[in-house]
Amino acid sequence: MNSPLTHETVIDEDEHGADSAIAARLRIDYEEIMASTAPDQPGGRIVYSSADYETEEEADAALDAFFNSILEAPYEED
């Protein structure tokens, strides 16, 4: 398959309306994503995998915990 590595797409307007003003064109650089998330790159390290859990319920709970760890982290300005 011969596909381009960069796509431009229009993200749908936000269904809740709060972000509708920023429905913007998004340039997705698949080449960069492929490179930065290759297995030998820091960005390619798997930080959550449902395969690490015995049951679907445990995997779901771990996914919740994974996202909560992001949501509960203190905000750090650049």
Partner: protein, 141 residues
Amino acid sequence: MKKTKPILEFTAGSRRDIERCRLFLWRKPGGQPAQRIREVKREARRLTSDPKLYPVESVHPVSLLEFRRKNVGQFAILYAYLEPTAALPGGVVSVRAIRHGAEEDVLFRVEESRMGTAERHRLVGLYLRERSGNPRAGLSG
């Protein structure tokens, strides 16, 4: 026969993307970061029900990894789906990146804050020209 669900995984890169999107939404009045990020989680989880619902957008030339995209409001979830094998009978949904529709604006503002005034004005001009498609837009004098 019950169909085996794919494994769902997130890379460190996708986690960083989520953190960056959260920070952006936090800075934005009415951004509702927690609600939006939970939507991403819900939709990522839902991908495992039908990982091939979204078309392949790009294929890695060496690994032949197929990248697909699911839009969630202002976000795009970029993921690869690995077909089932004997060892992984459900296949794998591997979330590689999360992008926000206004990300380019965000990056621009971050870079802008690190620059001096003259450089900032020059880049604002370039930025406005690129956004408008008008080679004169953003130029003064």
